[in-house]
């Protein structure tokens, strides 16, 4: 009896300990495996507009960012490094950010994006289920979201998850 109780106690401790190591902020996105929501938005600092339909046939990354977002700064060097390789197009979704601030931010820290689009009121962010900038979506040739990173992309994540997945999707 006593041994049974002790085992039950440690089982409970183990269960709670596993729970503690998980990040409650990482909510699995229901958008994985679904077509990337359509939109048409103005490009940042350019007269042209952009719609994800233009990217059909290409694997590409959509990165949600803002100049007011602190952890975007952490992520930024990783994206700059990535953009040097020109592996796949990297398009920014500038989320709820005044365009002049956004342009200043890019001038200051470097612009890794092919271009960014302006989601001034965050409406497109809602369609993409954005709740914590930065977020990054990997979209395949058919326009389907294959992977979503919530929070900054780290060098490890880029090397171990995103790049292999790009390779797989391009095959």
């Amino acid at each position: 009896m006593r041994i049974g109780l002790i085992i039950a106690f440690f089982a409970l401790v183990a269960l709670l300990a596993i729970g503690l190591t998980r990040n409650p902020r990482e909510v699995p996105s229901p958008l994985i495996g679904k077509p990337a929501p359509a939109f048409e938005l103005p490009r940042l600092g350019q007269p042209a507009r952009f719609s994800p339909a233009e990217m059909r046939g290409k694997v590409w990354l959509l990165n949600v960012w803002a100049s007011w977002c602190v952890s975007c700064r952490d992520e930024h060097p990783v994206l700059v490094e990535f953009s040097r390789t020109r592996r796949v197009p990297l398009i920014g979704l500038n989320y709820k950010d005044p365009s002049e601030d956004a342009l200043k931010w890019l001038a200051r820290y470097g612009d890794p994006y092919d271009f960014s689009v302006v989601d001034a009121n965050g409406r497109i962010g809602i369609d993409y289920g954005v709740y914590g900038v930065p977020e990054t979506y990997l979209i395949d040739r058919g326009g389907v979201i294959r992977y979503k990173q919530i929070g900054p992309v780290t060098p490890e994540l880029m090397a171990q998850k995103i790049l292999p997945l790009i390779q797989e999707l391009e095959r």
Binding site: M1, L5, P24, R25, V27, P28, S29, P30, L31, K96, N121, G122, R123, I126, D127, Y128, G129, Y131, G132
Partner: protein, 153 residues
């Protein structure tokens, strides 16, 4: 006399001021009430222990704006919930649907309760069994004799 006039004037002064009923917070009361009802059942993604109705987070305000627009567009509650689930998953619902991935969530507490009852039942039965065998008939007689003896020393 002068003082009386002053007093009269002072008394008449408030008549010029008209109290009006406080204007409603939002233009359409019915829409707001439905919004609150729906938003209370939805989780704020930014501050996860708050409902969308209670939260003042930026995203929560945006989402409430979306819900308000959908109510005005005549969408049903189920359609609005579906809109949220499609974007943020079952996690936004404070009462997620019963399915394979939420089975533990729904049935876990009852399973724990049952386990608790089982342990309790085992405990009680063991204790009862132990009590029953503590005294033999002989011991019982001796105990009775001792107790009687102690009543009249």
């Amino acid at each position: 006399m002068n003082r009386l006039l002053c007093l009269l004037a002072a008394l008449l002064l408030p008549l010029g001021l008209q109290a009006r009923e406080a204007p409603p917070v939002a233009a359409d009361e019915a829409v707001e009430q439905r919004l609150v009802k729906i938003a209370e059942e939805l989780r704020c993604l930014v501050c996860q222990n708050e409902s969308l109705a209670a939260s003042r987070a930026d995203l929560a305000l945006d989402l409430k704006r979306e819900v308000r627009a959908m109510i005005k567009a005549g969408r049903t509650d189920a359609e609005i919930r579906d809109f949220m689930v499609k974007r943020y998953g079952d996690f936004v619902l404070y009462r997620p649907p019963l399915k394979e991935s939420t089975l533990l969530l729904w049935l876990g507490p009852f399973a724990l309760l049952l386990a608790g009852f089982a342990v309790l039942a085992i405990f009680v039965r063991r204790r009862r069994a132990a009590k029953a065998t503590i005294l033999s008939a002989e011991d019982e007689r001796r105990a009775d004799a001792l107790l009687k003896g102690s009543e009249h020393p």
